[in-house]
Structure formats: C-alpha cells, structure tokens
Amino acid sequence: MTQFQTDPAPSRATTGATLLEVEDLHVEFRQRSGVVSAVNGISYSLAEGETLAILGESGSGKSVSAQAIMGILDVPPAVVSGAIRFEGRDMLAMSAEDQRQVRGPGISMIFQDALSSLNPVYSVGWQIGEMFRVHQGASRKEAKRKAVELMDRVRIPAAAKRVDDYPHQFSGGMRQRVMIAMAIALDPRILIADEPTTALDVTVQAQVMDLLKDLQRETGMGLILITHDLGVVNEVADNVAVMYAGRIVERGTVDDVFTDAGHPYTEGLMNSVPQVEAKGGRLQPIVGQPPNLAAIPSGCPFHPRCARRRLGAEAAPGRECSIDVPPLRLVASGREAACHYSEEVLGVRAV
C-alpha cells in the first residue's frame, strides 16, 4: 500500500474552533423534465485542522453539496436552501459580492480533472497569480513572484522555469499541484478537495495526499475530502460522512465507522472494496442501482437495495423501511446513522 506521513494517531476531530456549519442543506435542480433532488437536507460541521471525508456512490450528491457550499452552482437551475455558516456568517444570506470575497481566502476548492479545470489559454503562473491580483491588488510582477513561491511550496520542480508554461505542458500530477497551489494561494480556512486524486496513478495519488496533509498541518485549515477511495479515507481523515441519495446516512470518526458500520449502506461499501482490514473475506458489491434522484424511493431511500430491510409484519410499528423515513440519529457514542435498525447492524462486523 501507499505510505502517508501522517501522525500515527490522527487527532480525534474537533480540535480547534468550528469553521463551517452546514445545516439542513437542500439542492434541487428544476428542469423541464422535473425536479432533481440532488441534496436532501444534510448537516455537518468542520473544525480547524479537521479532515472530514465524504463518501458515497456516484450521484449521491457529494460534488453538488460541495459546490453549493462554494456558492458556484448556477442559480437557476439550482435551488439552494438551508444554512451554510462560515465562521458564523450564513453564506446563503450574504450578498453575492460578500460571498465572492469568501471564495479564495475563506473557502477554496480543488476539482477532480485538473486539465479541464485549468484554463488552457493562460499560463499556470498567470492563473495562480490571478488570486493575488484580484484579491490583494498585487502587481503583475509581484503576483508572478508569489506564484513561483507557491509552485515551490507544492513541490513543482523548477518552478521558476515552468511558471510561464501552459497547463497542457504539465503531467497530470503536476497539474493537480497547480490546482492545489491556486486553491491554497490565499491561505484559505477551508479547502474542499473533490476527488483530487482520482485521475492520478497510485504513487502520484499518495504524493498529492501527503502534500495536502502537510499543508493542512502548516496552516491548520479544515479539509473536506470527497473521495471513493476508502484507503485514503482510512489514512488521512478524522471524521467521515457517508452520503446516499443526497442524504447523510452515517457519520462518525473514521476509526469507528470503519471498524463497525452502523448503516447497511456503509456496511455494503466496506464489503465492496478489497482494502480495509477484513482480509480474506469475499467481495460483495451492493446490489441494484443508485436511485433516480427525480423519483427517490419512499421511506428509507436505500430500502430497495437493502438486505436488512423490514417490511410489513417484520417491521416494528412506525419503523417500516418502505414507508417511514429514518432520521439521522445518535446510535452509539459519537455515532449517527439513519437506519431504523442500526443497533442490529452495529457489532455485526466484529465477527
């Protein structure tokens, strides 16, 4: 496996002050063909120095919720509601101009595909330096000097020579570093990384993750890491939130959730990937397809695919999986899960 230079015992969450509180966030896309409910009331918070991993299948709303927090969804067609408090101020209630000024120095984001996310017609130095020119009124020369510094900081070799090169002249890993340099240019309080390493090969993945962790240690920023890679989550994240159909279905520390899932969906995720403890066990992919967000199943949205679902006479009163929506509730100390029968799920993996 890849090696990370993280501390042996990652600090157990909420070390510093709370930076971000997301409360009952909803995002809908109103389209001619109907309404797509991509995010359906998620809540979480992020503290200084904390790394929160967001897990979930494709289409579960991870990217959309991140982009809603950044305020970069096109409204319309997107409709965003709820509250997104950054250092206590609700971003959704701010003017567009105030919101814009949070982007960059306050919250910043890196995207999965660095090649298409960088503008092909400007040099990387120009694009990094733009942060200083726009947010700090720096001169061109000054901005370029700082861009070189940043490229050094994200360990791009021969930064001074490459500052005038264009994105297509870099390798995938180097391009992702350029993205990172741009995102951390103004020392943001929060960095959202949306699958920052998916497009990279394993060695480069590890380097990029190391870099992010090092930067976090230097600046104490909060990191929201969206990924499919349970191995990465296991090694770098403090807390994890598992999303399904635009909801958070389970939340807790990585150690807890990974050793003993409290939601059948999380359990399914753990069983469907080769890494993570349970060596020798057979892989069991989750059956069925992710739900259509224009027609989310009633009750628990996961119930059509759930092996532990209880219907009809099997179900406890008021807890029928196909009818009653399970709220996200405390199921053990520091653990929340949205399953009527979470207590039965917990403890199973200890077998």
Binding site: M70, R100, R103, S108, F111, S116, S117, L118, P120, H135
Partner: protein
C-alpha cells in the same frame, strides 16, 4: 513558427502557379471569339482580326500562350486587355473599391455580429437571445439581392440616411453595400459567438474561475470570452480572404466599380488577361488570409504548435 510561416509562404508559389494554369485553360476553352465580342455588331476587317490575333497570340497553343504570360508576369507585366489597357491599371483602379467594401463589411461583422453573439450567449434564452436567433435566421434566409434592394429602399430612399449607389461620397457610400455584403457573415458570426460562449460558460475552467472568487465581469471577459472568440476570429480572418474576392451582386446593385464586377464583365467579354490576372489575385488573397488565420490560431491558443 517563423519556419512554418516561411514554408507556407513558399508553398503559395506552386499553388498560385497551378491556379493560374487552371484559370488560363478555362478562359482558353471558353467558346466564342473574343475579337468579335469586342467589336459587337460592327463588321471587322480580316486584317484587323489578324493583327489582333497575332498581338494576343490567340492562334498559339495553350502552353505557348501561358509561357508568354509567365514571361510578362516575371517582369511585373500582367498583360493588357484587348483595348490595350494594362491589366495592372485595371486592378489598381478596382481593387481599392473592393478593399474599402471589405473593411466596412468586416467592421459590421465585428461590431454587430460579435456584440450580438456575446450578449445572446451570456443571456441565453432571454428576450434578446431569441431576437438574435430569429433575426439571424431571417437574414440568412433572404437572398442577398432582395436584402440589397430592401436596404436601398429603406435606408436610402425612405429615410435618406445613406447614398444608394456609387462611390462619390467616399466612405459614406460604402455603408449600405457594406452592411448588405456583411449580412450573411454577420449572422453567422453572431450564431457562432453565441454557441461558443454558451459552451464555454459550462466549461470546467469557468467553474474554477468562480471558485477562485473572481468578479463576474472577469469570469466573462478573461475566462469565457478569450476562449470563445478563437473560432470566431478565425472565421472572420478567412472571411476577409473571401470578401476580397469581390462581390458581384453587391457591387452591381450599388454600382461600385470593384474587382468582382470587373471580373464578371471580363468573363463576358472574354478578356482572358483580365480574368486570369484578377482571379489569380483572388486566389492569393484567399490563401494568404488562411495563412493569417492559422498563425492567429496559434497565437490565441497555446495548445496549437506548428513545427
């Protein structure tokens, strides 16, 4: 890049030669007798016919005629028409008219076409966007001849804003013909710009620009327009090459003695030297502006490299 341009320029020489041979043989193959055509209905004495035939090598085989033509060409002599006027003089007289017409047309393409396209692309599905869609469709659907008469009627006669014919009023006289000539390309530029902008607005790097906290203006101007205009600029560049070929209809309707009308008249009169001279020049413009476009493309888009 310099080497690429030099190579392309060198390549134009054989292309031009080939083009002139082609045009030469087409003119040569035209049915009818140019000397009779020149005389019209008047009778011509056989002696005159013979003198003219010899002077213009009309009885020589094609390759010999072409050889004579080439010899002249390398001395800067494009030959003369049957009335003895040098072809070079004819070009000097008519080309400026066509150049002015082209300049005015291109200004219209840029000012109206580009602006309309940008605004429509930014505000897609707005009232203005629909207006642009409908009006460009209408403009493209109407034949240029009808457009020309409409423009003359409306802006020339009814409103009296612009002269409707001739070049006596200088640049002012080029406004209406320029607009009519530009109309098709203008509509195309507007459409192309609109589509290109709408497409780029959805690009990942525009999303990045938003995430960087850039002001909306900057997102549009620096991160959308620059990328969107690449295909538009290259289209306009190529269009200049085509417009310089002269516009027979526009020049005729607005009575502008440009290169297009000249070559049209020359074809009817079977003025071989004039046709070959002017058409070869048109081919040159076309090739040259396509080269300019390719160079521009590399300047605008760093991903393009010619080596």
């Amino acid at each position: 890049m310099g080497r690429y341009v030099a190579r392309r320029l060198l390549l134009t020489i054989p292309v031009m030669l080939g083009a002139s041979i082609l045009i030469f043989s087409v003119v040569y193959a035209l049915p009818g007798d140019p000397i009779r055509a020149l005389a019209g209905d008047r009778p011509v004495s056989p002696a005159v016919v013979q003198v003219l035939t010899e002077r213009f090598h009309l009885d020589d085989p094609l390759w010999m005629q072409y050889w004579e033509y080439l010899k002249g060409l390398f001395q800067g002599d494009l030959g003369t028409d049957f009335r003895g006027r040098p072809v070079l003089d004819t070009i000097e007289r008519t080309l400026p008219v066509t150049i002015r017409l082209t300049i005015v047309a291109v200004i219209f393409e840029i000012v109206i076409g580009l602006t309309a396209g940008v605004l429509a692309g930014i505000r897609r599905n707005s009232y203005f966007d629909n207006l642009v869609l409908v009006s460009t469709t209408v403009v493209v659907a109407i034949p240029i001849l009808v457009l020309a008469f409409l423009a003359q009627l409306l802006f020339g006669l009814k409103l009296g804003w612009f002269p409707i014919a001739g070049t006596r009023e200088g640049w002012y006289g080029y406004v209406l013909p320029g607009l009519v000539l530009a109309s098709g390309s203008l509509a195309y530029v507007a459409r192309l710009t609109r589509t290109s902008i709408a497409e780029n607005l959805r690009a990942d790097y525009v999303r990045t620009a938003k995430a960087k906290g850039l002001p909306p203006r900057r997102i549009i101007v620096q991160h959308t327009l620059r990328n969107s205009l690449i295909p538009v600029v290259t289209f306009i560049g190529a269009d200049i090459g085509a417009l310089l070929g002269g516009a027979i209809v526009t020049e005729t309707v607005f009575n502008l003695p440009g290169i297009g009308r000249e070559v049209f008249d020359a074809i009817r009169a079977q003025e071989g030297a004039v046709v070959v001279g002017i058409v070869t020049l048109m081919v040159f413009f076309f090739i040259f502006f396509n080269l300019v476009v390719d160079v521009l493309y590399a300047v605008l888009d760093p991903r393009i490299r010619y080596d």
